[in-house]
Amino acid sequence: MSAAERRGGPLARDPLAELLDDANAGNRDSLGRILAATAPAVLSVVRVILGSDNPDVPDVAQESLLAVKDALRSFRGEASLVQYARQIAVRTALAARRGRGARDRLLERFRRESAVLPTEDPGEDPVLRARRTKAFRGLLDELPEEQAETFALRVVLDYSLDQVAAVTGAPVNTVRSRVRLAREKLKQKIEADPELWDVLRGEA
């Protein structure tokens, strides 16, 4: 997401959007270019919402990219095409998570999300990071649909309240209320989880 997008400011020219008319007119080369350029964003979002080890990631990512393709005609240029694809991926992945939630939760009980190799930030502890992201995904399973989508847009795509409102079509105050309820639920979840509580105290 560009800085301008994050601030809700004017969007830079989107070279991908210039392929849109051709793609919608049936030009497979243009469509392929759009899909190839948006696929990494889609995969990344799906991986975040389902969990990077979830074996359903390839299928749901495929499903999401198909949804992006189907939604190209509805694109109105209010964000970049890649951002648009991310929004669709959030919705598709959340729907998949809800549909497969029971099985996922069972699997996650047996899947310890712990250490990873340090990557960009050597000061960050990957074990703690995995616990935090696990808490986030657990929260998504417990929230009502609108709250889950709102919170995911806010956290996964790092959208402002205004941006979430624009994407969901809900008034800003409704978005604020949904985020607040999601945060309260998250707070309860943290307080009920001694391990996570320890992580957030920096003692783990």
């Binding site: 190839a36 080890d53 990557t119």
Partner: protein, 310 residues
């Protein structure tokens, strides 16, 4: 309840984007000291970005995604999309998609395509970053002005606040103190490796991984570090994210394709691919194991798995 108590969404945004006004830092700090949810939310986008990172290892999957979406256009029956199918590599559609993907996204190098663009969390106000690294202390008295001036004048002096429990019972208050970090004694690669192995044998996996991580950062390419990649891969395979286990095995094989642990690395790689459901690559990995290590103790397992994958 004040506005601050109701989760300061705009302040959180500003903190993440590095635009938080100086006067708002203390307000946000006070809220974060009370609100674990906001504290978690402040770092979640970066945590998630790290977890969702798309790397060159995903090229085949991305090409399949694009190919699948293209195949569903026109020719392929749309109904199949209802339950997404795993598109197998091969055929003109896949080749076109792969070529397009390579053209647009690029191939070589170790570039990481990340979800949210630049890691702008690094622009976060230093005080908030401090909170991110160490848990905030509720009701922490403000640092003495003099000490804060010293911090500003001498960046190497970092104010350190003891993490304070955020749940009842309330802890005794900890006073802030100034801490001048000294460079830690630099262990040798051999010592670090030995430390990590001791932690691993003792069952302290997080500590072992931290030590192996230090080895990787301080002595990249050393004999011990290269060897550790297989050990780390095994640890992650049993206890951590499989993708990272795969990356660790691949890291070893890229450097030491004929190394003494190549057989173990190949087995680990194939096991990781199996867990990730990347069947084509898994098939190649088992086949390579049998070709390069025909007497492998895992040969029977490899052959059994290959027959299942047919």
């Amino acid at each position: 309840m004040t506005t601050i108590d109701l989760h300061p969404e705009e302040m959180l945004d500003a903190a993440r984007r590095g635009t938080l006004a100086a006067g708002a830092v203390e307000d946000l700090r006070a809220h974060l000291g009370r609100c674990a949810a906001c504290r978690l939310s402040l770092t979640l986008p970066d945590d998630l970005q790290a977890e969702g990172a798309v790397t060159n290892a995903d090229d085949a999957l991305l090409a399949r995604m694009v190919s699948g979406a293209l195949l569903a256009t026109g020719g392929a029956p749309r109904v199949e999309v209802e339950r997404p199918r795993r598109v197998r590599a091969g055929g003109a559609g896949w080749a076109v998609a792969a070529a397009l993907f390579a053209l647009l996204v690029g191939g070589g190098g170790a570039a990481v395509w990340s979800m949210g663009g630049t890691a702008y969390v690094r622009k976060i106000v230093p005080e908030i970053l401090q909170l991110r690294r160490r848990a905030p202390a509720p009701e922490r008295p403000a640092a003495p002005t003099r000490a804060r001036e010293q911090v500003a004048a001498a960046p190497e002096i970092v104010p350190v606040v003891e993490p304070a429990p955020l749940a009842p019972p309330a802890p005794p208050p900890h006073l802030p103190r100034l801490h001048v970090p000294l460079p830690p004694p630099r262990a040798s690669a051999d010592e670090l490796f030995a430390d990590a192995n001791r932690a691993r044998r003792a069952g302290d996996v997080p500590l072992a991984l931290r030590r192996y991580g230090e080895l990787r950062r301080q002595f990249p390419g050393s004999r011990e570090e290269i060897t550790s990649r297989v050990v780390v891969g095994d640890l992650l395979l049993s206890e951590g994210p499989t993708r990272d286990a795969l990356a660790s095995f691949d890291g070893y094989l890229a450097t030491s394709p004929n190394g003494t642990l190549a057989e173990e690395a190949l087995v680990g790689r194939a096991s990781a691919l199996m867990r990730l459901g990347r069947r084509d690559e898994e098939r190649e990995a088992w086949t390579r194991l049998l070709r390069e290590h025909p007497d492998s103790v895992q040969g029977e397992r490899a052959r059994r798995r290959l027959s299942e994958l047919r």
